[in-house]
């Protein structure tokens, strides 16, 4: 079916020439919002010497790991075979991972590496000359890569292209040279502690509502969504999308936790496990958001942090966040998928796969598979709660991105290209023959839904909490 969809081919110049949008930045500066005056959220300033600052930041921020990825690439082009951008646009030489990484690599070569400093032309070293060049770089690193890390796993040298892309994004974020969507979400997360500017009142009100609906639906008056309860077995953290637009997942979780007899709680503050710092490359934002979660767990003396279904949130909260915040991990942090697995393994909940008879396949989210450790657990659970499980190929570490990763869903201007290169994913989905595609990431839900609609596939996206909740056998006392 996806064959029938003829994509309008995007001209790469239409992407790379996109201007720097400043409307939100102007507004933020007029309103003198806190995160700007405190110097956390950076605004673009035309008067400043941005190119020089870029160079300074490059030398300040670079790590040994990044520097080795800068020097190790041999320009063999093998990575072109692994990126959904270059695979869908094989005749566009600007889509290969190595080309994208080279846009930052050549600045490194020009200013830090030996040969490039002396003979720049010889190794294609080049510095940006003006803000126009930086804006061009912005469009490449934000607009033509979903930071999925697939190329890294297929590079014979082990070059961390996706990390180089993130590194470049981080420097640009520090100069305010970012897509408007990135600015807006960063602003909200700095200002309100969560990505969608949900107020505490709205947060509590929504949880309360979910609780009431559950009580009514199940006719169990003592089912609860506990807030800020101390000394619990775990503290549950979520994606703000769940609160703002689709709290069904919270009620699925609450229902499962209730029947498993779990002692759990949600924090009043520090509940957002997502982290836009991962996408914008801003380690300070990453540290701030992650620390909110870790500190909430300490405050509540929770024994464990459980992260709801989310790819980048898991990667940020379970792995990167501790390092960004330089915070020694003090309690286990796990994805809810492991919690579910434990419940089923230990017989704490009973499930009946017959309740999910539709053919279902699993989409490995990049941040959980390549940058996390959750390859087998979701399959184990799916096997227990569905009758007709179909593997997608390639899978696990080699799966293709939902094509909405790397924060791309918040950058509308790059959407046409994103959907064009989603062709690989569409074909992969279609080949499974499944009617449902399960993912344990909210971002992937939106990325996949978008491409399913675009390619007119006969498929629906589900999440694992929904499937587990569906399959539960509840014995009423």
């Amino acid at each position: 079916m996806s064959e029938k969809i003829k994509n309008k081919r995007i001209k790469i110049e239409d992407i790379t020439n996109l201007p720097l949008e400043l409307e939100s930045q102007k507004k933020a500066s007029q309103e003198k919002i806190g995160s700007v005056s405190e110097g956390k959220l950076k605004l673009y300033n035309q008067q400043k010497k941005n190119v020089d600052r870029f160079r300074e930041l490059l030398s300040e921020k670079i790590t040994r790991q990044l520097a080795s990825s800068m020097v190790a690439c041999v320009h063999c082009g093998m990575c072109a075979e692994s990126c959904h951008y270059s695979l869908t646009r094989p005749d566009d030489p600007k889509m290969t991972p190595v080309y994208k990484a080279d846009q930052i690599r050549r600045i490194f070569k020009k200013h830090i590496d030996w040969t490039g400093r002396v003979f720049p032309k010889w190794v294609k070293a080049r510095s940006p000359v003006d803000d126009q060049d930086l804006n061009h770089l912005k469009n490449i690193v934000f607009g033509t890569c979903s930071a999925c890390r697939r190329c890294t796993f297929n590079c014979p040298m082990g070059v961390e292209t996706a990390l180089l892309i993130r590194f470049a994004r981080g420097i640009l974020t520090d100069l305010g040279i970012v897509p408007e969507g990135v600015f807006n979400v960063s602003r909200d997360q700095w200002e309100t502690g969560n990505q969608m500017a949900v107020t505490e009142e709205d947060y509590l009100d929504t949880l309360d509502w979910m609780k009431e609906e559950l009580q009514e639906e199940l006719d169990i008056p003592d089912i609860d969504i506990p807030i800020d309860k101390e000394d619990c077995d775990f503290m549950y953290t979520i994606n703000p999308r769940e609160i703002k637009f689709d709290p069904r997942s919270i009620s699925h979780a609450a229902k499962i936790f209730h029947f498993a007899g779990e002692k759990w709680t949600m924090p009043k503050w520090g509940w957002d496990q997502t982290n836009f710092g991962l996408f914008s490359g801003d380690d300070r934002l990453g540290a701030y958001v992650a620390k909110n979660v870790y500190e909430a767990a300490v405050r509540l003396r929770a024994k464990r942090i459980v992260i709801s279904e989310c790819g980048h949130g898991y990667r940020s909260t379970r792995w990167e966040g501790y390092n960004w915040a330089e915070y020694d991990q003090n309690i286990p942090t796990e994805s809810v998928i492991l919690t579910l697995m434990r419940y089923i393994q230990k017989g704490m909940i009973k499930v009946d796969p017959a309740k999910n008879p539709e053919p279902v396949t699993f989409h490995d989210s990049c941040n959980l598979a390549r940058s996390g450790d959750l390859l087998e657990a979701p399959r184990w659970v799916l096997d227990k709660v569905c009758t007709d499980y179909r593997e997608m190929f390639p899978n696990r570490r080699e799966n293709f991105c939902c094509t909405g990763g790397g924060g791309l869903l918040s950058m509308a201007e790059y959407r046409p290209l994103r959907l064009e290169v989603a062709k690989v994913k569409a074909e992969q989905l279609e080949a499974t023959g499944a009617k449902l595609v399960c993912t344990i990431c909210h971002n992937c839900v939106d990325g996949l839904t978008d491409l399913i609609k675009h390619y007119k596939l006969d498929m629906k996206v589900v999440q694992i909490l929904e499937l587990v909740s569906n399959s539960m056998v509840i014995r009423m006392p």
Binding site: T63, R64, Q65, L66, A67, S68, V71, A72, C73, V74, H75, G77, M78, C79, A80, E81, S82, S86, P93, M95, T96, V98, Y99, D102, W114, T115, K121, W122, V123, K124, T152, F153, N154, P156, M157, G158, E160, Y322, N323, E326, Y327, D328, Q329, P332, E334, L338, M341, R342, Q345, A369, R370, S371, G372, D373, L375, E376, A377, W380, R397, E398
Partner: protein, 225 residues
């Protein structure tokens, strides 16, 4: 043997090698001067196993989609690098163990592999020029290094059946090129083998720590979690 060749084979090579080692040490010191990050999280897998797995990547073509699917690329990669190894080996054999090359079979093996590497080199040059994506990323250094390698294979091919009587030129060229290499390599992409352990180490450490690298047992148990 002429004096020129003798000095070229011995003292000159030693000076060039010392230079290479010196620059390499500087280069590693340079890399180590970049700050490193500390791991603050509980492990899920084993960093050491990950590092081992990552380092061995070069010998495990089945672990990577690119090499698994493109056998041809892997084979030509192996032949090319084998050619490099043998050619470098010859630079030691000729001055120090020349009797090895009195055995015809060894000469043939060396010549065969180096000859194949030469052809692979030509193919690589063709690919670099013909494929628009690769052309776009290629620098002068990429072209120059590759052409140099191709030349080197050709000269090695001629020099290996040591024959001072017929002509010394292949040997003189061979050792002159070797010396040039030793000096040029650390400043060019050919030095990538020096970085391989670094990138592979870092990737292996991260992925091992997280349990992504080194295929683990399926269905881990949640006991004790």
């Amino acid at each position: 043997m002429s004096d020129l060749l003798r000095i070229l084979e011995n003292e000159f090579q030693i000076i060039a090698i010392s230079f290479l080692i010196f620059v390499y040490i500087l280069r590693i010191v340079w890399l180590f001067r970049f700050k490193s990050s500390k791991e603050k999280t509980y492990p899920e897998g084993n960093a050491k196993a990950g590092i081992a797995y990552s380092m061995l990547n070069v010998a495990m073509p089945w672990t990577m989609e690119t090499t698994r699917k493109k056998h041809f690329f892997y084979i030509q990669f192996v032949l090319f690098h084998l050619g490099v190894t043998l050619a470098i080996g010859a630079t030691f054999i000729i001055p120090y163990w020349p009797h090895l090359f009195e055995i015809k079979a060894i000469v043939w093996i060396f010549q065969f592999i180096v000859g194949v590497a030469f052809i692979v080199g030509l193919f690589r040059l063709y690919r670099r020029l013909a494929d628009a994506s690769i052309r776009l990323i290629s620098s002068w250094d990429d072209y120059f290094s590759l052409i140099l390698m191709i030349l080197y294979f050709a000269v090695a091919f001629l020099a290996i059946p040591i024959n001072y009587q017929r002509s010394e030129w292949p040997l003189i060229l061979f050792f002159a090129l070797t010396a040039f290499f030793l000096i040029y390599v650390p400043f060019s992409k050919i030095g990538h083998y020096l970085y391989y352990p670094f990138t592979r180490f870092f990737l292996g450490r991260t992925m091992g720590h997280r349990g992504v690298f080194a295929k683990k047992k399926k269905n881990r148990s949640t006991e004790g979690l």
